[in-house]
């Protein structure tokens, strides 16, 4: 019975980790102190000799446990042979020093081998304390590696900074957020659809789900607004009525967020926006699906949907702050800033803030999709121009400015041509330089690039390239949905 059980092995491993963590912290402290002393004294100075002796002692204790080990900075922490060092008051300064200095040197740390002799260690210390990193991390790494080589320091090896790895982590994070954005967007769509069905058949909606999905949209929006905006630019849905509600919700939230609304008010705005057309569920289904243009009777009926919406809300919910705000957005989203529009008010007044926001989002999405009210589909620049022409009449001037600033004059998801004859899809706006957004370059006049060749460029960093025009992707058979995942 000499073999160890799995529990014993795990226990031993745990013990070793605890020991290494303690010794690692000691090493970091002593190494930091030794580098400071080396910066001030000669190698034969007693002060340095005392300090280097402490360092050797610290290293020996580790070598007693591990023949070779690494000391690395990774994701804001220091690790000794994969064991994360806990931060403590006595080692904070030392850790911060290495966490900041090593990436600048183009390294993430060093590996140490057991047969390290004291002279090698001294050379390493004096080189490290004197090293002045340049601008380029890559060059710095090579300088460190080459110099250690020249000094014949063989038992201590510099490890290159994992910049690529961190970048890829960043990409993974972006991918995760985009996946979350997609999931939340389609959940919102499902909730709108389910609400519409419930409203038609049972005269009720699930307000808890509605709120929750709006909260989800806000959470994603705060993390990556562009991912959410890109989803609103996709128009190839079979049943666009529901998508319109989700898009209006997202666009309203973007406007509210840029205006500076807090979470609670954003949530209330989102609920109002998501339900802004709920009154349409009370209209004859034939009218909603009518393929022809509307006649006067159709319009008269259609114009009742805000009133139907308010009635529906209060039949099913009690009048509280959230429903009050939602119902005014529902009632007034077709009333223009100058009180024209419908329903016709007896007392002319400027619509409430939520209604003014939803009205802008509704108009923009309706005009850019061309799928609501049989409008002609417009490109974002045409729609923005049209809306800007109606400032003060149809739209609140300041809110429209915030809206266009937020979605960009080249909104995310728009297909654009560029001055270098390349074709791109706007992937992220640039509020401080709206004419220079980030673009996914998908091809040129000779053809579309392979998926792996699609690159993202930030036009604010490419002074030679500018957007020349926006184009209707559908018209030129460009399938924008194909590029959604590329980030």
């Amino acid at each position: 019975m000499f073999s160890k059980s799995l529990e014993d092995i795990q226990e031993e491993k745990k013990e070793l980790e605890v020991t290494l963590e303690k010794l690692g912290r000691e090493l970091v402290n002593v190494l930091f102190a030794t580098l400071k002393v080396a910066a001030m004294y000669e190698p034969n100075n007693n002060r340095y000799l005392e300090q280097s002796s402490l360092l050797r002692g610290a290293l020996k204790k580790i070598f007693d446990e591990e023949s070779d080990f690494t000391l690395l900075s990774k994701g804001g922490y220091i690790y000794i042979s994969e064991v994360r060092l806990k931060s403590s008051r006595d080692s904070d300064d030392a850790m911060t020093y290495f966490l900041e200095r090593w990436p600048k040197m183009g390294i993430c740390g060093f590996s140490f081998a057991q047969s390290l002799d004291p002279r090698e260690l001294d050379k390493f210390i004096f080189f490290l304390s004197a090293f002045e990193p340049g601008e380029d991390c890559e060059e710095n790494y090579h300088a460190v590696a080459n110099r250690l080589n020249e000094l014949k320091v063989e038992k201590i090896v510099a490890i290159k900074y994992f910049q690529e790895k961190e970048e890829s982590n960043e990409k993974d994070e972006t991918k995760k957020i985009r996946a979350k954005a997609r999931k939340t967007f389609f959940s919102a769509l499902a909730v709108v659809q389910s609400n519409a069905n419930q409203a038609r058949t049972q005269d009720s909606i699930n307000i808890a789900k509605t709120k929750r999905v709006v909260q989800g949209l806000i959470d994603v929006l705060v993390q990556d607004e562009a991912a959410m905006l890109e989803l609103t630019s996709l128009k190839n849905f079979d049943d666009y009525t529901y998508v319109h509600s989700v898009n209006v919700c997202v666009l309203s939230l973007v406007l509210g967020y840029h205006l500076g609304m807090d979470r609670k008010h954003l949530s209330q705005l989102g609920v109002g926006a998501l339900l802004h057309d709920i009154g349409k569920t009370k209209l004859p289904i034939d009218l909603i699906n009518k393929p022809d243009t509307f006649d006067e009777n159709d319009w008269a009926l259609m114009r009742k949907h805000p009133v139907f919406g308010v009635k529906f809300i209060y039949r099913t919910r009690s009048l509280e702050e959230t429903t009050a705000r939602a119902s005014t957005a529902i009632f007034e989203h077709h009333i223009a800033h100058d009180s024209t529009g419908y329903p016709q008010l007896l007392d002319k007044r400027t619509p409430t803030l939520y209604a003014r926001i939803v009205s802008i989002a509704d108009s923009y999405n309706a005009m850019t999709s061309g799928r609501v009210y049989h409008l002609k589909k417009g490109l974002p620049d045409e729609v923005i121009t049209k809306m800007a022409n109606r400032i003060g009449k149809a739209y609140d001037p300041l809110l429209l400015k915030i809206f266009v600033n937020a979605i960009g004059i080249y909104p995310v998801g728009t297909v654009v041509t560029m001055s270098n004859n390349e074709i791109g899809i706007v992937s992220r706006g640039n509020p401080s330089a709206p004419e220079s957004p980030e673009v996914k370059v998908i091809g040129d006049e000779n053809g579309l690039y392979k998926r792996e060749d699609v690159k993202i460029i930030d036009l604010s960093k490419e002074p030679g390239i500018s957007i020349t025009r926006m184009v209707d992707g559908d018209k030129f058979n460009i399938d924008t949905a194909k590029y959604f995942d590329i980030s």
């Binding site: 789900k209 996709l234 500076g260 008010h265 509280e320 959230t322 705000r325 005014t328 020349t468």
Partner: protein
């Protein structure tokens, strides 16, 4: 030799047991804090003391354990699979509000701030208090945006099959042809744009600074686009004001106005009635939620509309009257009673304002409500409202004297007295017979408030009440109101040979009342009492004489004063003192009592 301390499994189990106990203790404190929030008004110190204590215990525990995760079930809450809370009754279940809203667990983390914990406790008590509020626990937790409290939600909305969509489904599969792609760029030429148009630094564009896609827009739009990136100070101020104004804005009142606006848009009868029904439902919801201010707004708007329609002689006027009448119906008052019995921190001024707006038809159900309400301020609010509502209909209110509950009868009698209508005496005749003395007392006081001949007669009758306290109350009211017709009746009481056996206070008050009401006419009978010679002197006679001497002071005729002076100089020591004191008081104009 080094000694190692051996740690056994039992030791570990012991430590873990202790930590579970600590957690359970903290959770019990949490429940107590929530209960304190539910029971005590916001102004009470107790909930705050509980909160402070909870914060201290919880943060100490978090220092040790870093984080605490509580799993939520329908009627229990557990920590590390150990139950730390088990609901004892359906009516008091602190787990349910979280469970109902899909919260599977909540977690407190080290670094928890006092504000976060207080807000969490507020949410827990708010959710436990009422299932009627629109905001569910998940929403309130989300809105709080806690840094050191997290929660896990049941992802139920994702049950709906959403991934049949996905972005993949949106892919059209279309691929542009070479012509398409060339066309993209050829179109530039159609726009008559030159190289200069695309050069943002060109002389032409520098003046306009327009992005190339917007080169052909009009000047107004051009200004809009070129200024899109920056907000000047006035715009920033306007944005802040926009948000502040929105917070100040009364959205509920605005929504009520909107509902009435919709009502006015209705052109056909069915639509009008349907919308009125809807507004009535909204009003009922307000009562359920205890938002009496908004209920007042609804009835206020309806009354305004009713007045306009009445002037226009519109048939809709009647519909509005019926609409207002619906709030006076028994079932609505039952809802109100239900809320007032359950709610905490009720604004009773708003309740009163709401009730006062109801039509008189609410009197009967409100009298019923007086018997059902648990809290005194709620009953007071109803009484105040009834004083207004029953002014024209004391008969309806008076029926309340038939209530089997003594306190209802007393309240009704009190309100009848405050209204002051003489029709009340029909009901006082019944209530003065009430077995409960409190009702009879209130009847005497209320009857006295109504200035009328009936009041005098009624009070005189009350002098014969079986209870001496009622008799004295009636006497005081008679004297206060100078009901002179009662003089003879009091004289008969005094003349009764049993009079001397009454209590000292009664004798004093009756003789004083007799003197006040009778004036000079009372002199002779009083003189007789004072001068009565007795073979066997007794304490009872002495007491009678003393109070009769004092009563002389109320008469204030020369005869009475002369007699007092005479007594003051007499040899009867017991009478001398009281006569002197009475004379002094009369001279100084002081009250004799």
């Amino acid at each position: 030799m080094e000694k190692f301390i051996e740690i056994t499994d039992e030791d570990i189990a012991e430590v873990s047991k202790a930590s579970v106990k600590n957690v359970a203790d903290v959770f019990t404190l949490f429940i107590k804090t929530v209960k304190a929030m539910l029971v005590y008004p916001a102004s009470s110190k107790l909930p705050h003391q509980f909160k402070e204590s909870l914060f201290s215990s919880l943060t100490n525990l978090l220092e040790e354990l870093d984080e605490l995760t509580f799993k939520v079930e329908s009627d229990s809450i557990s920590y590390n699979e150990n139950s730390v809370y088990q609901a004892k009754a359906k009516t008091e279940n602190f787990a349910h509000p979280f469970f109902r809203d899909g919260i599977l667990e909540f977690k407190f983390k080290r670094g928890l701030t006092v504000e976060e914990l207080n807000q969490f406790v507020d949410i827990a008590s708010q959710m436990t208090r009422s299932a009627l509020v629109d905001d569910d626990a998940a929403t309130l937790l989300w809105e709080s945006g806690f840094e050191h409290i997290s929660y896990e939600l049941m992802d139920d909305f994702l049950d709906i099959e959403t991934f049949e969509y996905g972005t993949d489904k949106l892919k059209t599969g279309q691929t542009p042809s070479e012509t398409d792609l060339k066309g993209l760029f050829v179109n530039n030429i159609d726009m008559n744009l030159t190289e200069e148009d695309f050069d943002l630094n060109s002389e032409k564009n520098r003046s306009r600074r327009l992005p190339s896609a917007y080169l052909n827009v009009e000047d107004d739009v051009s200004r809009f686009i070129t200024n899109i990136a920056n907000y000047d100070e006035s715009e920033k101020a306007a944005m802040a004001e926009m948000l502040a104004a929105d917070v100040r804005f009364d959205h509920i009142k605005y929504a009520i106005d909107t509902l009435f606006e919709i009502l006015n848009m209705e052109t056909d009868n069915a639509g009008y009635v349907e919308t009125l029904d809807l507004i009535a439902k909204v009003g009922t919801d307000f009562i359920k939620l205890g938002d009496y201010r908004s209920a007042v707004a609804i009835i206020g708007r309806a009354k305004e509309l009713g007045q306009v329609l009445s002037k226009l002689d519109s048939p809709k006027h009647e519909k509005i009257q019926i609409f207002i009448g619906r709030f006076a119906a028994s079932e609505k008052i039952k809802i109100l009673v239900d809320h007032l019995n359950k709610a905490k921190d009720v604004n009773y001024a708003e309740v009163t304002a709401f009730l006062k707006m109801l039509p008189w038809q609410a009197v009967d159900p409100l009298v019923w409500a007086l018997g059902e309400l648990d809290h005194y301020p709620a009953r007071r609010a109803i009484c105040q409202a009834l004083e207004t509502l029953a002014v024209e209909h004391p008969d309806v209110l008076g029926k309340g004297t038939e209530s089997p509950r003594w306190y209802v009868v007393r309240n009704v009698v009190s309100i009848l007295g405050k209204i002051g209508d003489r029709r009340a005496f029909a009901y006082f005749k019944r209530s003065i017979q009430h077995p409960d003395i409190r009702v009879r007392k209130e009847t005497v006081m209320s009857a006295a408030r109504i200035i009328s001949d009936e009041a005098g007669e009624f009070l005189i009758t009350a002098l014969q009440d079986q209870d001496e306290k009622i008799q004295m109350m009636a006497l005081r009211e008679i004297v206060e109101r100078k009901i002179f017709v009662a003089f003879g009746h009091i004289g008969r009481v005094i003349a009764n040979k049993e009079f001397k056996n009454r209590s000292a206070d009664q004798i004093r008050e009756l003789l004083a009342g007799f003197a006040v009401l009778g004036g000079a006419e009372a002199f002779e009978p009083l003189q007789k009492i004072i001068m009565r010679w007795s073979l066997m002197p007794s304490e009872k006679y002495d007491r009678l004489r003393i109070h009769a001497v004092r009563a002389l002071g109320y008469i204030r005729t020369p005869e009475a004063m002369k007699l007092l002076e005479k007594i003051a100089c007499s040899r009867n020591k017991k009478l001398v003192d009281i006569a002197r004191r009475t004379l002094n008081k009369v001279k100084r104009g002081e009250d004799l009592v």
